[in-house]
Symmetry: C2
Subunit: 230 residues, 2 copies
DNA sequence: TCAAAACTGTGTCCGTCGGACGCTGTTTGT
DNA sequence: ACAAACAGCGTCCGACGGACACAGTTTTGA
C-alpha cells in the first residue's frame, strides 16, 4: 500500500519488458487529472472523467495507478512547481519569498488545499519545498524540532489565507457575506467584537498573507535573538 | 439555499402547526450524526447510517434537513463546546488558553478539521469562538482587519497542529514514518536540511502547539508595542 | 361534523462513484 | 512456436446522495 505509493512517487518508472506497449503513462494520466481538477475542481475528478479525457476507458487507468488516492497523490506532486531559489541569504526575505510562492501555488491549483492535508507521504517536489524552508532556518540556533515546527507554522498560515481567499470574488462568497450580514444584523449584540472588527473599513485585504508572515517571522526573530544572546 | 442554512443554524425551530408530530428533531439528528462521525469518522457518515441509528429510514431525514451538507454544518456547530471564559485580563494568557481549548475541541472531534474548512456560514457556537478571540485583542491599537487576521492566524496554526497530531499513534502513522524513512535513506542527499531536522532528537513533540502560539503572540506583541510607542 | 390543508414517514427509482474480476488480444523472451 | 507477461476493456457490484410520489396523520376552517 504505502510501498506502492512510495514507488509511484519516488521510484523509477521502468517499462515492463513484455506485453503490449502501454498507450498511457503516469505523467499523462497525472496531467489529465490536473487538467480536470484545475478546470472543474477536485470534486469533479473521477476515474471516468480522466479516462475519457485520455480517450480510454476508466478501467484501463487501474493498470497504471492502484486507485484514486494514489492518482491524487501523483497529481499533487506533479502540480506543484519547483520552490523558488532563495539565494537571498537573509532568512527573512527568503522565507517571505517562499511563503509568497507557496501562496501562488495554492492560487494556481486550489485543489491542492484539499489534497495536501493531514499526514501523508510527500513526493519529491513537495518535499523540496519543505527542504528549502528548513534550509533557510539552518544555523540560527534552533533545534531540529523547532525548525520543523516553524515551517509547519508558516505553511499552516499560508494554507489558511489561501483557503480564505479561494472563494474570493465568486458569487458564492457574495451570498455568504449577505447571509452573515443578515445574521449579524439580528444577533450582532451577542457578538460585539466581531461586529466591530467586520464593520471596520476593509482597507487592506490581500494584506492578510503579509500580516501573518511578518508576525511569524517577528516571533521567530525574537526567539533567535534570545538564543544568540544567552 | 444559504437562507435555508442560516435558518437552520440561527433561526428558531418552530413546530409546524399541522400534521403528525415529528418523531425526530434537529438536535437528535445532529447528535446521531456526531455519534457516527466520532466513532467512525466523517467518511463513514451517510444519511443511511444516521437514519438507522435513529431507527428511521434515510429519506425521513430530508424532512428535517435539506441535504447532507446542511446536516454536517449543523453537526459542526453542535459539536463545538462553548469557548472558555477568558476572564484572565492579560491578552496573552487569554489567547493561549483559547488556543489550547480550540486544540482540545479538534482532538475531541477530529472530523471538525474537515468540516470547518473554507468559507462557510458559521453557527452561533462557532462564531462565539471567534468573538472571544477578537474580544481579547480589543483596545490594543490594532485595526479591525488586523484583529481578524490575527485570529485567523492563530486558528490556522491550531488547525495545522491538530491535523498533524491526528494520526499520531495510529498504525497508519507508523507505516508512513517507515515509508518516509525509506525514502530519506535513498534520497537523503537531496534533502540535507530535512534529514538533519528529522534525525535530531525527538525531544519535545506536543510542544508544537505551544511553540507556534508563542511565536505568534510574540509577533503580535511586537506589533502592539510598536503601535503604542509611536 | 367533515373535508381540505399541511405535514410526516416511507418505498422506489435514478445517476454516479470506486473498484473487483475475467476475458481478449498483443508483445517479448526462451 | 509457445508460453509468460502485460494492456485494454466490458460487466458487475455495493454504496452513496437525492428526486418523487404515495399513504397515513393531525389540525384548521367552513
Amino acid at each position: 500500500m504505502a510501498d506502492e505509493l512510495a514507488r509511484l512517487l519516488w521510484g523509477p518508472q521502468a517499462r515492463p519488458r513484455r506485453g503490449p506497449k502501454p498507450a498511457l503513462s503516469l505523467d499523462g494520466i497525472a496531467r489529465a487529472g490536473i487538467e480536470v481538477a484545475d478546470a472543474e475542481g477536485l470534486a469533479a475528478l473521477s476515474m471516468q472523467r480522466v479516462a475519457e479525457l485520455l480517450g480510454k476507458t476508466k478501467m484501463s487507468l487501474y493498470r497504471y495507478v492502484p486507485g484514486k488516492a494514489e492518482l491524487v497523490a501523483l497529481m499533487t506532486d506533479r502540480a506543484v512547481e519547483d520552490p523558488p531559489d532563495l539565494t537571498g541569504g537573509d532568512w527573512r526575505t527568503d522565507l517571505t519569498a517562499w511563503s509568497a510562492a507557496l501562496f501562488r501555488a495554492f492560487a494556481q491549483h486550489p485543489w491542492l488545499l484539499e489534497t495536501t492535508v493531514g499526514a501523508r507521504l510527500m513526493g519529491p517536489r513537495e518535499l523540496s519545498w519543505v527542504e528549502r524552508a528548513l534550509a533557510a532556518l539552518d544555523g540560527k540556533g534552533l533545534t531540529g524540532g523547532e525548525r520543523l515546527d516553524a515551517v509547519v507554522l508558516l505553511t499552516s498560515h499560508v494554507r489558511g489565507i489561501a483557503q480564505q481567499s479561494r472563494a474570493s470574488g465568486t458569487e458564492a462568497e457574495a451570498r455568504l457575506v449577505a447571509a452573515l450580514a443578515g445574521v449579524l444584523r439580528e444577533h450582532g449584540d451577542d457578538y460585539p467584537a466581531t461586529l466591530a472588527a467586520m464593520t471596520a473599513p476593509t482597507e487592506e485585504r490581500d494584506q492578510a498573507l503579509t500580516f501573518g508572515v511578518e508576525r511569524i517571522l517577528d516571533g521567530l526573530e525574537a526567539l533567535i535573538a534570545r538564543r544568540a544572546g544567552s
